[in-house]
Amino acid sequence: MGGVFHAAILFLVAAGLQLVFGVQKIFNLACGSFYALGAYTGVSAVAFFTGHGGPPTLFVIPLALGGLAVGLVGLVVERGLLRFVYDRDETFQLLLTFALVLMLEDLIRLTWGTAPASTGGLYLAYGQVRLLGATVPVYNLIVIAASLAIALGMGFTLTRTAFGRIIRAAADNREMAEALGVDMRGVYARVFTLGTMLGTLGGALVIPATAAMSEMGIELIVEAFAVVVIGGLGSMRGAFLGALVVGVLRSMAISIYPELEMLLIYLIVIAVLLWRPRGLFGAAAA
């Protein structure tokens, strides 16, 4: 069950990564930093809320809003930096997003300091339930449900709405979409902001269960890469399945043979790369 909670968070970050790659063909290394940024903002938003007399049981509202709001930084990054490198070599794009990783880590340290930040005991505000013989905090279930809802919402948006069709068209063939009158600048700005928001929301939602540390993004991005490789680059369904595989297998490995924890994930990554180099859902575009 712990694995599923982890998978839910991992899915949000990986989905952001996939969305941006699918449409803009940019591999956004900074997605882990957005996750950390969302975590710290979540802590501050909750502290502000409870500090101003907000009832502790409603803390998820400022948490989620804070996480989504700071996602707007994606718009600034896209308009201010990324749009200049779309036509350049992929190396430039990687370097730029890696520079963002370093800058955001320092920004976090300057803003929130070096000590871990946390929301105290709010994690247990909703109590615990017994599920399949294990005690599970209700908060974990809320996050899993929210993540599922976002996955379904994304699926619906991509397949059933006009915006979704434009996104898929842009992912398939940018020139053709542009020739048909799609404003690619607007699409890129919206897609990148949405992708960033998924990451920052993931960071905000995880924080009650843990504590924010400036390098938390680095830890996560490694797993997010594994998810992307297993699921297939650019695929939403791949992100969903990949996150579930990584989250649950890691959890099982710890219970059965702890030394295998990280190794197992990479073994699967290697296996996927050997047998299905495009990942489980690699053929399908976003």
Binding site: A115, G121, Q128, N140, A209, A211, S255
Partner: protein, 426 residues
């Protein structure tokens, strides 16, 4: 020495109440006869980034607090103290910065060093550069064994595994009938060494104890729910955890979420390093918790400790942890050694004379008396105790408080750790 100190206290205390802002940082022109009047430069190595950044920050804050007070009182023999701060990062880069401090900045002494991974590399360089180096928290141990039994210039922190030894000694006293134990620690030398040592000590007190599970997540992991599930499955009577950074807070929270400590006892050898993040809402009473060498709320603490805690809280809105005390002791012992050297020769002592004077010297640090063993290892007290909610804070403190000296909890110079533990009379 003692009276001068108290006078310092009065002056600095008064200054603090007045609101110390407008005071000249450095009292000039009072250098003693035979002492140069230019500032004495002290190099500092502090971790600034990553998991251990809060530890480096605490060490630096303790040092700065010392310098501010010392300079108001005339510096060292009338020479104002000037810090040159460099970053401790990887062993290779830190060694380069260490050389830079000595060759370019021409510092008289280098203090600092937290990670044993780094200080293990610094030790031989200190010997080669022939400038005294006093380490805050880093040792020159490989695993649990000393690599530099007879250093000339390097002064090392307490052995890494001391808190595991103290916790092992206290476990049978506070938790009766323990038969099975699980352990969790970070996957690097500190985590492994603490677990190995704790097992060796506990076996001496409870010969039939069984160690049923050991987990070593990577440093920096922020999700322990799966580890906690594995611990629940193993059903130990007691969990020993040597986390010391934000991960201690995180595992405490995630353990509370599933009620882990309702079914087992808990020993947190080092979590006192992040003590004010261990909120009552998720940290139960009745755990054994270690604060390393300084307990901020010690009712028997000195006036110096109380003043430090008060001013630290006022300035940073945090309660200080042990690294401040390591750092304070380092620089205070340097000052005492210089003064001791001066008393003998009436000149500013040479670096070699300072080193000689440091050996065996004892000074008042924040936590009380601390000294350098003749083989250059810190001697001090360790503070551990049982967590309680009966205090005025929103985090746990300890009561009763156990104070254990390195005289009984650290392997003597030249001995092998496990042989020494196995030779105890119990």
């Amino acid at each position: 020495m003692a009276t001068t100190r108290r006078e310092f206290l009065k002056v600095a205390g008064a200054a603090a109440t007045v609101g110390a802002v407008g005071f000249p940082a450095v009292a000039r022109g009072q250098a003693k006869p035979g002492v140069p009047s230019d500032p004495v430069k002290i190099g500092v190595l502090a971790i600034r980034a990553g998991i251990a950044a809060p530890v480096g920050q605490a060490g630096l804050r303790g040092t700065e607090w010392w310098v501010e007070r010392a300079n108001k009182a005339g510096g060292i023999l009338g020479r104002p103290v000037q810090l040159v701060v460099e970053e401790e990062s990887t062993p290779k880069d830190t060694v380069e910065r260490y050389r830079k401090l000595i060759l370019q900045d021409k510092v008289e002494v280098v203090i600092g060093g937290i990670s044993t991974g780094v200080t293990l590399a610094l030790g031989p360089v200190a010997e080669e550069m022939e400038v005294p180096w006093l380490s805050w928290d880093g040792t020159t141990q490989k695993g649990v064994e000393e690599t530099m039994p007879n250093p000339k210039w390097a002064f090392r922190s307490v052995d890494n595994e001391v808190e595991a030894i103290v916790a092992g000694q206290l476990t049978p006293k506070y938790f009766k009938g323990i038969k099975t134990v699980a352990g969790i620690g970070n996957d690097y030398s500190y985590g492994h060494d603490c677990w190995e040592t704790y097992q060796a000590v506990l076996k001496r007190y409870i010969p039939d104890v069984k160690f049923v599970l050991e987990l070593f997540p990577k440093l920096g992991v922020t999700d322990f729910t799966s580890h906690i599930a594995a611990i629940q499955q193993a059903k130990p009577d007691l969990l020993m955890c040597s986390f010391w950074s934000g991960d201690a807070t995180i595992i405490m929270k995630q353990a509370a979420a599933v009620g882990l400590f309702k079914s087992m006892k808990g020993v947190f050898t080092t979590a006192g390093g992040v003590h004010d993040s261990l909120k009552k809402e998720f940290t139960p009473e009745g755990l054994l918790l270690g604060y390393n060498t300084m307990y901020f709320d010690d009712p028997k603490g000195s006036a110096l400790l109380k003043q430090f805690v008060r001013e630290y809280k006022a300035k940073y809105n945090e309660y200080p942890a042990y690294e401040c005390d390591h750092a304070y002791f380092n620089i205070e012992s340097y000052k005492a050694a210089v003064e001791k050297g001066y008393a003998a020769t009436k000149k500013w002592p040479s670096k070699a004379e300072v080193v000689k004077a440091l050996e065996g010297i004892e000074v008042d640090s924040l936590s009380g008396k601390r000294s350098w063993r003749p083989d250059h290892v810190q001697m001090c007290n360790f503070y551990q105790g049982v967590t309680t909610h009966k205090n005025g804070y929103d985090f746990v403190t300890i009561d009763p408080i156990e104070v254990v000296s390195t005289k009984v909890a650290m392997k003597p110079a030249g001995s092998k750790l496990i042989e020494w533990i196995n030779g105890w009379k119990i």
